[in-house]
Amino acid sequence: MQIAQKKRCRICGWVLNNSALPFDFMGKGRLWGSGLSQTQDAFVEFRRVQKSYDGEVLVVKDLNLKLPKGEFLTMLGPSGSGKTTCLMMLAGFETATHGEILLDGQPINNIPPHKRGIGMVFQNYALFPHMTVGENLSFPLEVRKIGKADREVKVKRALDMVEMGDFINRRPAQLSGGQQQRIALARALVFEPELVLMDEPLGALDKQLREKMQFEITDLAHRLGITVVYVTHDQTEALTMSDRVAVFNDGVIQQIAPPDVLYESPDNSFVAQFIGENNTLAGVVDSIDGDVCQVKLDSGDIIDATPVNVSKVGERTLVSIRPERVEANPKRLKKGAHTLKAEVLEFIYMGDVFRTRLRVAGNDEFIMKTRNAPDQQRLTPGEEIEIGWLPTDCRALDA
């Protein structure tokens, strides 16, 4: 339990002991009492889960996933990659074609959704339009046969938690998108579930509100110590909110790692391309020496890189370099580092950064981002420069 709490503090900076919480959400003992022995084990586990809707295509292929209690895990991936399907299997609205899903160590494949006790936030909020905000929040308590007085207290507490206490008598239609979002959140939390699933809950909000809500959701999740599985196709959202991110593509988890690892050490080209901006150059492995390799690009140039999933000389590879790790100032490069000729095609002044589009080794879309600093030179189109990078920032991935 202590371990889990410390981990949460890293993310939200919230001083975590029960007395600091605005109310005793964990005091019920459900959250911590029942799962205490399980803390070290997986709280949610997917074991070799497969899913097919039509018997022809596997939408989810051999999914294995463990998440500990209290973790904020994001499923990130392009549209159609099977994220929602996974979430729905966990919630019980879809059945796994093969494999097992365990919650708190118990297989839940045969437990109907309403007995799973999992909170859910939907993309369109799914607030019941014929009920007021108060009635919406009271609903999960009513079906649990909680007394009226208790219900009122809990509803009020949950509304205060999302700062919507004054809206208890409104109808969902009388609320703005952001307010509906908060109510949906409060409704998913009001019955104190240990696990909350959110399927692109911020998809319909504008950028500013989305960023504010991102913070509030993570903050709440960590304060309450709940386990969250969050689905999004927005990589910024995934990076800023999560303890760990599972990158989905085509029904397969490509990589599952904390945000910084994901960004800085992508396991394969898909993750590298999908997370953040990324430059790729195609080539063939020329030599491998431990954790450094040399790649002969298709243009004939030789560059240094870190081998990630290449193993032998002669293998085709895509090397990947983040735009902000590209260096145009030779003084900042290591002695003997390989450099490349580049032609400036476009220079965009973006305020805090300069964004330069270059032609490098036949690639016209090579981007370099440089910080707007006094010693930073502004380039003009047509200029010829030398660029380079640290071998550790340049990763040789699968082609």
Binding site: G92, P113, H114, M120, N124, A126, F139, R187
Partner: protein, 416 residues
């Protein structure tokens, strides 16, 4: 900022409010202009004829135009004392005139509606009217002692009024006495109220049955994939492809004593061959056939509403711990109410004025008010009463509509 006091002005100096009203008026006028042809069409072929017809419920100048002299004399008569000689003279003169003009039949029929037996009395008296001499009252008494019955005269007084509530009164089993009081109709003539009640009851039952049968179907349709549901919707609409008459006759073939259903019952031993169910030419037949015919009108609005209820609502409810039933009753059903409202109203209003089906399969006790209106239109030729019955039906429908609006709310209805 300029310190403008007074109203905001548009660029050309006119007040902004007026400018806005002008531009709004123009766009509304254009929108109205587009509906004008339809509006004209409706007014000419629908509103005017109906209004014209409905006025017949309160306007009847048959007596007053054909018997002008006695009309004036009857107006002066107090309705209780013995008729005066002058009145008798006027009546005799009018009867002679009517006999000559061959209009006596119409007059006799009119008075007969107020007092049974008047028809024969009038035709009999009219044959001699031209030869009668003063004192006319005694002459009338002599011709037929029925003239001594004050009710005959009272009936004439009621009939002589050009504007009369008599038909409206008759349509709700009331009659108007000569001194203007409204009293209940004679026992054996009280048929309309029961009929209205039965009509409303049948319409209600049909609405209920179509709802009970249609709701699950619409629900199923709304959950199926588009391709399948479209195919099934065509099946729902299939009955519309055949004429109403054909469908109704098909039910006769199905339900009659020697019909398919009874044959099956007998074959399976559910009914004895000598004790076949009578499912047609009675209320049962009307209900079965009408329910079948009106089912699509319930299913379609229900389906169109249910289709728009996102599955995430039911999922949300279940994720919060609601059982299937609670989810349905607390979350799904309330959101389908607009469809129920639309479907029920549609079916009810269609059912309350149903005509062909009860006429064909209704037998004696499956008849509805429309069948009576038809009878008075074509059988008894009492158009005034037909108009009055139609008017009352219209008022009932409007009243129920109003009640519906108060209870459910008309804006809480979705027709498609």
């Amino acid at each position: 900022m300029t310190e403008t006091t007074g109203p905001l002005l548009a660029a050309d100096g006119t007040p902004l409010k007026r400018k806005l009203a002008q531009s709004l008026f123009r766009s509304r006028a254009r929108a109205f202009g587009l509906t004008l042809p339809l509006l004209a069409f409706i007014i000419v072929v629908f509103v005017i004829p109906i209004a014209q017809f409905l006025t017949q419920a309160v306007v009847d100048d048959r007596y007053s135009s054909l018997m002008p002299k006695s009309t004036i004399a009857l107006a002066e008569w107090d309705g209780v004392s013995e008729p005066s000689e002058a009145l008798a003279a006027a009546v005799v003169a009018d009867l002679a005139l009517a006999k000559e003009n061959k209009t006596i039949g119409k007059v006799a029929t009119r008075v007969n509606r107020e007092k049974s037996g008047a028809r024969s009395l009038f035709t009999k008296t009219a044959r001699r009217a031209a030869k009668m001499e003063a004192p006319f009252l005694d002459a009338l008494y002599e011709r037929d002692k029925k003239w001594r019955d004050i009710e005959i005269w009272q009936g004439m007084k009621v009939a002589s009024k050009k504007y009369t509530a008599a038909y409206l009164a008759a349509s709700v089993d009331r009659k108007i006495t000569a001194d203007g009081k409204i009293v209940r109709q004679d026992e054996q003539r009280r048929i309309h109220i029961t009929l209205f009640q039965k009509t409303i009851w049948i319409a209600f039952l049909v609405t209920l049955f179509t709802f009970l049968l249609g709701y699950p179907v619409a629900f199923l349709l709304s959950t199926l994939p588009m391709r399948t549901s479209n195919l099934l919707l065509i099946l729902v609409l299939l009955p519309f492809w055949t004429s109403l008459l054909v469908r109704t006759t098909a039910w006769i073939a199905m339900l009659q004593g020697e019909g398919v259903l009874n044959d099956l019952f007998v074959a399976f031993g559910i009914a004895g061959d000598d004790a076949r169910f009578s499912m047609i030419y009675n209320l049962t037949g009307t209900l079965i056939a009408m329910t079948h015919i009106l089912l699509p009108f319930m299913i379609l609005p229900l389906y169109s509403v249910m289709k728009t209820i996102p599955p995430s609502y039911t999922r949300a409810a279940k994720s919060m711990g609601a059982t299937d039933w609670t989810t349905f009753w607390r979350v799904y059903f309330p959101q389908s109410v607009p469809g129920i409202g639309a479907g029920a109203l549609l079916v009810f209003i269609l059912a309350i004025s149903f005509y062909i089906t009860p006429a064909l399969v209704g037998g004696q006790d499956g008849q509805m008010i429309s069948n009576f209106i038809d009878y008075h239109m074509r059988g008894s030729l009492n158009w005034n009463l037909a108009a009055a019955l139609g008017g009352v039906l219209l008022v009932i429908v409007l009243f129920l509509f109003w009640v519906y609006d108060r209870v459910v709310g008309i804006d809480n209805m979705k027709l498609g």
